[in-house]
Amino acid sequence: MNAARPAGLTRNQLAWRIAQDIPDGAYVNLGIGQPVLVGNYLPAGREIVLHSENGILGMGPEPAPEDADEELINAGKKPVTLLPGAALFNQAESFAIVRGRHLDICVLGAFQVAANGDLANWSTGAPGAVPGVGGAMDLAIGASRVFVMTDHCTRGGAPKIVGECSYPLTGRRVVTTIYTDLAVIDVTAGRLTVREMAEAVDRETLQGLTGAPLGWAPALRPLTAPRV
């Protein structure tokens, strides 16, 4: 199956692609893991304010190792910097920002996304494993738009976009847009609509790699990204 896997965007290209959809002036949370990469490709000239669950608005780029400060870390516990205009606040205030729907966009990883926008990204439900949810459930219900950043299929080739999530849910009907290595798919009113598709696949192939029926935007465009 792996051999037959179509070559879509690399992970960094996918991060670049998502970054293009973040408008000037947006307040954004980039989830732990892959989504943090999006921060590396925010288009020059846009002022975008990054939120971190642990109590920061206005995060800047990663510092040089010698400038890292262990009291200035992001939600993934990596050192960050502050931009001029940054603000620091406590945990209740930070999640008041999230739950109170003040964020324009959050970008989250996914184990599975269902056609109705259900998201599963915090637990595989494996018995005995240490669970950890962090701020994922708050972000899922809190941001105005929830972008999912994910490989289109698992390493084993199984669809991650499904009719119904088999993993425990993070939130119900929360996902706005799914960005994968193969496609950009909007979730609206319980239906999936492909807005962009990688040149490595055609409609039939993409549908074959997807566990729920796909619709197609009238102006379906190629999913491309520069080498990054």
Binding site: E47, V49, H51, P84, G85, A87, A92, A96, R99, G100
Partner: protein, 236 residues
């Protein structure tokens, strides 16, 4: 680029329409966004619901807004005071609806709106007439009242310092309702005494993060409500 500054105070309130719910900061004379309220009077919106701790004093600011007949309903904790004649006469004439809310519950309901909390149980007012018609529930042997969020269409707030991203700091006890009201409105409009460059408010001392603010107008020398009331000023 994020630049929440607007050129003048009329522009800042230009889209406040009839029927809007307006949260107005301040506690007595501390923190009252008097210039913004006067701009709202000039703007002409009617049939407003106003949320403020008090009911206005003298014939300026909130009292003037009431006196001009623009307010249909007020949500406040303490509209009485020696110079609250306007509120009293409108209330007694039946020209003003009043929802009386304990001060702490008022603050917490505004906070709930800003924090995405759907409702909360408070022991305040349990067993009193202010809990009538509300759901009550015993938790750990104590009676509690279910209270719901108070959301605003607009908030009018006075701050001491602002930057173009909308980060705010407040002066002394003028802070009062500002931080919670900023979070609870769809559009938060701030008059600030001083505009500073980004970073001019150290990140650890920002009181309201800019995400909660939509418009900033600089009013470098705001009127003293106390002096204006003593002088008997009226607006307009």
């Amino acid at each position: 680029m994020i630049d929440k500054r607007v050129a003048d105070i009329a522009e800042a309130v230009a889209d406040i329409g009839d029927g809007a719910t307006v949260l107005i900061g301040g506690f007595g004379e501390a923190g009252s966004p008097t210039e913004l309220i006067h701009a709202l009077i000039d703007r002409g919106a009617r049939d407003l619901t106003v949320v403020n701790n008090n009911g206005g004093n003298g014939h300026i600011g909130l009292a003037a807004l009431v006196e001009q007949g623009r307010v249909r309903r007020m949500v406040c904790s303490y509209p009485r005071s020696s110079d609250a004649d306007v509120f009293r006469s409108f209330y007694e004439a039946g020209k003003l609806e009043l929802e009386l809310v304990p001060q702490g519950t008022l603050a917490e309901r505004l906070r709930a709106a800003g924090a995405g909390i759907g409702g909360f149980y408070t022991p305040t007012a349990a067993g009193t007439v202010l809990a009538e018609g509300k759901e009550c529930r015993e938790i750990d042997g104590v009676d509690h009242v279910l209270e719901l969020p108070i959301r605003g269409d607009f908030a009018l707030i006075k701050a001491e310092t602002a930057d173009r991203w909308g980060n705010l700091a407040y002066r002394l006890a003028a802070r009062n309702f500002g931080p919670v009201m900023c979070t609870a409105a769809r559009v938060t409009i701030v008059q600030a005494r001083r505009l500073v460059p980004l970073g001019g408010i150290p990140p650890e001392t920002v009181v309201t993060p800019g995400i909660h603010v939509d418009r900033i107008v600089t009013v470098p020398d705001p009127m003293s409500e106390r002096d204006a009331i003593l002088r008997g000023d009226r607006y307009p």
